[in-house]
Symmetry: C2
Subunit: 353 residues, 2 copies
């Protein structure tokens, strides 16, 4: 080891999920949207003023911020945008979680929370989900330096009702509560109305799932003006110009097409509800999912075996081997009806052979 | 003040440079390239496979990394890419500057170094430039936790010869030395050949200046494989998917067109050398610049006065009021020959009236 390595921040490297380059596969492993972005998005990119490429973008990404604020009926000063929800969550962790007390989040949840905490040296304590994969509000009523959880939770898909979320926020007026709503648009109820009552609430959302734009990297935070200003202060001290010209143009176009958004998310919800029936009929168990994926376990077949079998059939799903509690589950993204029919055909043939 | 504000990381907000929305101005204030990106860049965006938009990008941005590595004759494992050079520098600070000893950088330099140090709580000590705005190698031979400086330096434009840079690196084997080469392509000599000899050297470059792509936010680091791996580990723990599909596609297209790159940078160098003569003829003083800007002071006219006069004529240049040592200087980006002729016409009329 060289001497200079002593000063290096060492972390256990996070390994991003597999992105197979193979074509003609059914890709149900990373919760992407099976439908293309709104038609206006492609048009916005193709007809963009190309002279913008050589110019620095607006560091406030004002047009995109305004569009998002307009969509939710908020002030623009209540919106923070970044390079995917990972960027805005990392910036929220950096800005808001500066206590010596541990932050709290579920044991089974988005796998980045502990990664950020480790990187940024934020103490944390995980709170176990109950036996039905539910977040217990009482676990979040102890002394802490902040709270973060997804709603619906990932990878379980389980939605927490708004009154239980309010219960947690109400019990913790002195810290920031981040509700990570990456999957909220698939039938969940957003904590948005609570922003009026609680100035320590921060909501994270993303264009990656419900707006079919994982490839453009756009995420955002909604919160009260003062809190958003603090986060912007840190962001401007880290990287002023995060949103490139294409992301701003494409993002605005996506937000503007409310009808396309509504239609696409409804199609996914419909396919999911139908898929739940198929999973049940094939002997799978799962908690009710309100996201664009289901988290299923088969009563007879090990997850690993089904995962490998599907992979051989060019159907990619996600298998989290750890922790052991979820090692028998598969997280399966809701694709198009056609893709799901192919999935069930392969599963049926294997399970009932 | 609410109780939750106690846990907020508070920073003096960095204020990004002015981006006037007004059209038909001559914009010489942010060191953008006056020429459009390579023709292949526009084509790459317009003909992009739009199905990529809904898919997560390759987290390694492999195609872009390979293209950059190929351009410099390095291994792909020696290249780290990010959202502009600010992103890659911030990630390098976070990863590499974890000592209790202060990092060292010049007193007059890129204004983000102290901002990152403050945000990330890295101790630092600034080293004054000499009276000719030169970095004195001997100032960097004291105990430190790392070193960073731009070459050519900004906003002075002064280039440090390679042997003096090697002198600094050689004297500091136990820390990381970042040479920020944002402006190196305008006639400077890169520290690239030193990578073979020193494994603690990190070079930062950007697509924003010499590749006319400030709007796409692409920056990169070049270093030894082990060091790049450490930085990638931290990056994957902060935000795995930073480069969106359009940035990857556009970046690859830009790198591929070597001839366009050579022609454009040469045009800017030629205009700069001609502009130096004009500045001298009009009574301006300056150190020799090897970047795409000149840092000038007039022997009779205050900087503030010239700045305001030019602004009224719709010509935007940059005036750093602080520190006092440079308060009488203007940083003027090299535009097209036509833009510069207009600048000199306005200056001449004012100065010789």
């Amino acid at each position: 080891m060289q001497a200079w390595e002593n000063n290096i921040r060492k972390v256990v490297p996070y390994v991003p999920g597999e992105q197979p380059q193979k074509k003609d596969i059914i890709k149900l492993n990373t919760n992407e949207n099976p439908y293309p972005p709104a038609p206006g998005v492609v048009a916005a990119l193709q007809h963009m003023d190309m002279d913008l490429l050589r110019r620095y973008p607006d560091p406030t990404a004002g047009k995109l911020v305004d569009a998002i604020a307009g969509f939710y009926g908020l002030k623009s000063s209540q919106v923070f945008v970044g390079v995917g929800s990972d960027d805005v969550l990392a910036m929220a962790f950096l800005t808001c979680f500066n206590s010596d007390k541990p932050i709290l989040f579920p044991d089974i949840t988005y796998s980045f929370y502990d990664v950020w905490a480790n990187l940024l040296r934020i103490p944390y304590e995980v709170q176990p989900l109950d036996e039905n994969f539910k977040i217990c509000a009482d676990d979040y009523k102890k002394e802490n330096g902040g709270i973060v959880f997804p709603n619906p939770n990932a990878p379980t898909g389980v939605l927490k009702p708004l009154d239980e979320i309010e219960d947690i926020i109400k019990a913790n007026p002195d810290v920031i509560i981040i509700v990570d709503e990456a999957y909220i648009d698939f039938g969940g109820v957003s904590a948005l109305p609570l922003l009026k009552k609680y100035d320590n609430l921060l909501i994270a959302q993303t264009f990656s799932k419900s707006r079919s734009m994982a490839g453009m990297r756009i995420g955002y935070l909604l919160g009260n003006e003062k809190l958003i200003r603090y986060i912007n202060d840190c962001k401007y001290s880290f990287n002023s110009y995060t949103m490139n010209q294409t992301a701003i143009a494409a993002g605005v176009a996506a937000i503007c097409d409310k009808e396309y958004f509504r239609t696409c998310t409804q199609k996914i919800i419909d396919t999911r509800e139908w898929a739940k029936e198929q999973f049940t009929a094939l002997g799978f168990c799962f908690e009710d999912s309100m996201s664009n994926f289901v988290f299923v376990r088969h009563k007879d077949y090990p997850a690993e075996e089904l995962f490998e079998m599907l992979r051989k059939a060019d159907i990619y799903v996600r298998h989290f081997k750890k922790p052991e509690r979820i090692s028998e589950y598969l997280r399966i993204t809701i694709g198009t009806r056609d893709e799901m029919e192919k999935l069930f055909a392969v599963l049926k043939q294997y399970i009932t052979r």
